[in-house]
């Protein structure tokens, strides 16, 4: 199936999903992010790569955190950034998603960073741009429904690579609400593409998608068994809405079975790292002692996140 993310020369045109992205391209993004990490340590944190370019942050779903990191990343590339919070659904405004895109294109947009509550929205936008001969405009998926959050996946891969070096020797566990998690899906695709031999998902049956093994993971319902020997533990955020609607009885019960405590972490390798895409629910999926402890790399994830997004945008804008 034609990969809509790549142009005719096999270069990255959009970043929509990590699924099907060649490992060379993933590797290039990670390598490109390295110098951007040190740029963040300078006084002048800007480079002129995207000077004169206009980046639109199109957030159909609220997220101050992700929007801010993209904004910082784009500004550090010297781009002009416009933030648009469209609210829950474009149809409540009366304007369709694609009409909104067309209007922004008329305002000389060079890049769209899109977060949307529905899976497939960035794909729809990319396909529309291609069909209307505007292939020079790039789309970055900042999270679409449950489907994907490729920049998060990339920054997670960058973090793992920073601390652990070779993916081909790792056991990685992803814990929590995988069913609703775009972060989990993207990370799973990235890990399997880079050759991680053992990727585990840990959660109750209600929070694991059907046929999840088909993504190349091993399923564990027992967290203690799932954590045994792990090099990396990724805790997913549990949203409060999941406590209603019959998926889970309560946060307390979830924490008992699937929360990460100091004691459970001892089952993983002694030098295991703990990751979390944020924002954390302390005491629901993760204990404060772990979140603030020596295994936690949650704060470096944020720093790496800006560098990785700078890498993504500068590779796209140059193609």
């Amino acid at each position: 199936m034609h990969n809509p993310q790549l142009n005719a020369d096999g270069e990255l045109q959009h970043l929509l999903t990590l699924e099907g992205l060649p490992s060379e391209i993933i590797g290039r993004v990670l390598d490109t992010a390295v110098p951007f990490v040190s740029i963040a340590e300078r006084d002048v944190k800007k480079v002129p790569l995207l000077r004169g370019k206009t980046v639109f942050n199109l957030f159909f779903e609220n997220s101050t955190r992700t929007r801010t990191t993209f904004e910082i990343a784009a500004k550090r590339l010297s781009a002009d950034v416009i933030n648009l919070n469209i609210g829950v659904s474009s149809t409540t405004k009366g304007e369709t998603l694609l009409d909104t895109i067309d209007n922004l294109v008329a305002m000389n947009a060079d890049m769209f960073i899109v977060r949307h509550g529905q899976s497939g929205a960035p794909h729809l936008i990319a396909q529309h741009l291609s069909a209307t001969h505007r292939s020079h405009i790039h789309v970055v998926n900042a999270g679409d429904g449950r489907h994907g959050h490729p920049t998060q996946g990339l920054l997670d891969l960058f973090t793992i690579r920073h601390y652990k070096r070779d993916f081909r020797e790792l056991t990685v566990a992803i814990v929590g609400d995988v069913l609703h998690s775009r972060v989990a899906r993207s990370l799973i695709h990235g890990l399997t593409t880079l050759g991680t031999p053992e990727v585990r998902v840990i959660g109750p049956q209600t929070l694991l998608p059907t046929a999840v093994e088909a993504l190349g993971v091993h399923v564990f319902h027992d967290m203690r068994r799932g954590l045994a020997g792990c090099d990396v533990v990724v805790m997913l955020r549990l949203q409060s809405e999941r406590m209603k609607g019959s998926l889970l009885p309560s946060a307390g019960e979830f924490f008992k079975h699937y929360g990460l405590t100091v004691e459970k972490l001892k089952l993983a390798k002694p030098d295991a790292i703990v990751m979390h895409p944020g924002p954390m629910n302390r005491g629901v999926e993760i204990d404060s002692a772990v979140a603030d402890g020596t295994h936690s790399v949650i704060l470096p994830q944020v720093t790496f996140g800006i560098a990785v997004r700078m890498a993504v945008m500068s590779i796209l804008a140059g193609n």
Binding site: V34, P35, S38, I39, R42, P48, L49, S314
Partner: protein
């Protein structure tokens, strides 16, 4: 111009060091432009008298051809283990040609701080300037056809060698 008629890299480096010895500031800091300039900066630091700290600069983010060519595949990390602000800097590069790489390096350095002064040392000056940039110290001046590139290589034993290749296989300096 063929490989045979190129000057010997080691000999030229020796000449460059001779010109710099006694002329450079005692506290000058050497910053080599990846990757040829980086090798040269390390060698010069050994060959010149006194302590000259060495830094490395990758100009990929400051190039003026990003819109045409995109981001280069191989990036290195600019590493400056000293304060740029107030320093006397000697930028080191292997080949001075259009002057655009040096322009990019100067812009990048200024984002680190305001240097006291910047001088430029190059192994080879091949003319063909497109910007008003000149080197303070030059190892050798040669003329090369536009469709050729001069490339510096470093062998496993650390020795340096110059060769000529068709242009386009490396980005012009």
């Amino acid at each position: 111009m063929t490989n045979a008629s190129l000057p010997d890299a080691e000999v030229t480096l020796g000449r460059l060091a001779d010109k710099m010895r006694g002329a450079v500031a005692f506290d000058a800091k050497l910053i080599g432009i990846y990757s040829g300039g980086a090798w040269l900066a390390e060698r010069l630091a050994e060959m010149l008298e006194g302590e000259h700290p060495v830094g490395y600069i990758d100009v990929s983010f400051y190039r003026d051809d990003y819109a045409q060519k995109g981001l280069r595949a191989k990036l290195a990390t600019t590493t400056l283990p000293f304060e740029v602000a107030g320093s006397r800097i000697i930028l080191v590069d292997d080949v001075l040609y259009t002057g655009r790489s040096v322009r990019a390096a100067i812009n990048e350095l200024f984002d680190y701080g305001r240097p006291e002064s910047i001088e430029l040392a190059v192994l080879i000056d091949r003319g063909g300037r497109e910007l008003p940039i000149e080197a303070t110290y030059v190892g050798a001046r040669i003329a090369v056809a536009r469709d050729l590139s001069i490339v510096l290589q470093r062998h496993l034993d650390g020795s340096l060698e110059l060769s000529v290749e068709p242009a386009g296989s490396v980005t012009g300096a």
